[in-house]
Assembly symmetry: none
Homo-oligomer: 242 residues x 2
């Protein structure tokens, strides 16, 4: 797959405020989406309120294309998703964001996601143009996603699917080789024995096992094991002169 | 698991604008999160700008608790995540949002997610209080998530995972409440200072952060924290007579 393939187009249908168009552009670019299409923005286009709200996502606004109808805006799109709540007036597949992301990523051709007016959403005829509804599962007692938030959640899901290179703890330091951990445990046991810590003798074995699990569980790296060994030396040593 | 179990607490550290606190509350409640904690909001609390921006999520604002320090805000939290980019100054596990969500859902006890100031994020010492960093994988050429967007993406991931929650094994001890870990770190720092360990003074702060991350990473239970505190006492003490 070439870079940029299967990036969905974001279609804002009759958006009302320039500010919200700008915020949607910002949301898109955060996750690498760049192609915005506007269907009859209420206050015309360009809109001076959009730029400041985009916080630097100017490239999205500059390339935004304006269309008269939703049909015109999606002519070249192979798959169309309508971002809305489930509609009683239409019998259509309803997908979660991750199912939508999977379809966008795996199917050939161009995809579009439709978002409706800030106040009233998409009309029935507009939803009916889509292949499926996509709905973010939300608190039924407080469903209050604004346009940019709906855009960012769907853009995020697409982005996750595209690039499974999530930051993982694998990139942090590896756990120390076991021998180094044994060195630490041996040092600690020796110092604790010298202090008479293991008492009574009948409990020594159980206590040593407990200490072992505590220090094994930590999954320290070589660097961290060295640091802890230094701490133990400092704790048992004489105060260092300045 | 009872309803409401394992809902993470959202901690806003030194938030600047009341409007952004309101937007964060709205973002939270969309995905069923209700517990907000504020650490020294710049303009005091309550803030008249928060309510209108919350768009009806008043219950979150009304219940918001205010704290003087991050430590105070997370005293009762067993797992703490710092929402930030990867930090070069700290060696800590870095998780994606879904890994964080999995840990919150599956581990026993209370979780918190820290979010920094709108302009400058979290400071090193604040990040160092967490068990792990959580980073939303984002367009490296345009990383511009605002506070409410970061909150909504992590709340959304948590909400998705919640339904998949595994019944937790009762045999796993929860990580100790953060206040107990602070007690351990305070004791250790005190003993090491007495030994002249922090030398030269210019490195003290960095060394303390390193120690903090080493001992935080271990995710010890209350029982284990107590055991380690006993070990420290034994190491610095006089040999016990038999």
């Amino acid at each position: 797959m070439t870079a940029g393939a299967n990036k969905p187009v974001i279609v804002l249908v009759h958006p009302q405020l320039g500010q919200n168009i700008g915020k949607a552009a910002r949301a898109m670019l955060n996750f690498g989406l760049t192609e915005m299409r506007l269907v009859k923005p209420r206050d015309g286009w360009p809109n001076p309120d959009a730029g400041p709200a985009a916080s630097g996502a100017d490239i999205v606004l500059e390339q935004a294309a304006v269309f008269e109808t939703v049909e015109d805006a999606i002519t070249d799109c192979n798959q169309v998703f309508a971002s809305t709540v489930r509609r009683r007036d239409l019998v259509m597949p309803v997908l979660g964001p991750d199912e939508m992301a999977e379809r966008i990523t795996n199917a050939p051709g161009k995809s579009a996601i439709l978002f409706g007016r800030e106040r009233s959403g998409l009309e029935t005829e507009e939803v009916a143009l889509a292949n499926a509804i996509v709905t973010v599962p939300i608190n039924p007692e407080f469903a209050s996603l604004n346009l940019a938030q709906a855009v960012i959640l769907l853009a995020y899901e697409w982005s996750k699917r595209r690039d499974l290179a999530q930051p993982t703890s694998k990139e942090t330091e590896p756990t120390a080789p076991h021998g180094e951990l044994e060195g630490l445990i041996g040092q600690l046991n020796g110092e604790l024995e010298a202090k008479g810590y293991f008492h009574p003798p009948s409990r020594t074995k159980a206590t040593k096992n407990t200490l072992r699990t505590i220090f094994t569980k930590a999954c320290w790296s070589s660097r961290e094991v060295k640091a802890v060994r230094g701490i133990i030396r400092a704790l048992v040593g004489a105060p260092r002169r300045r």
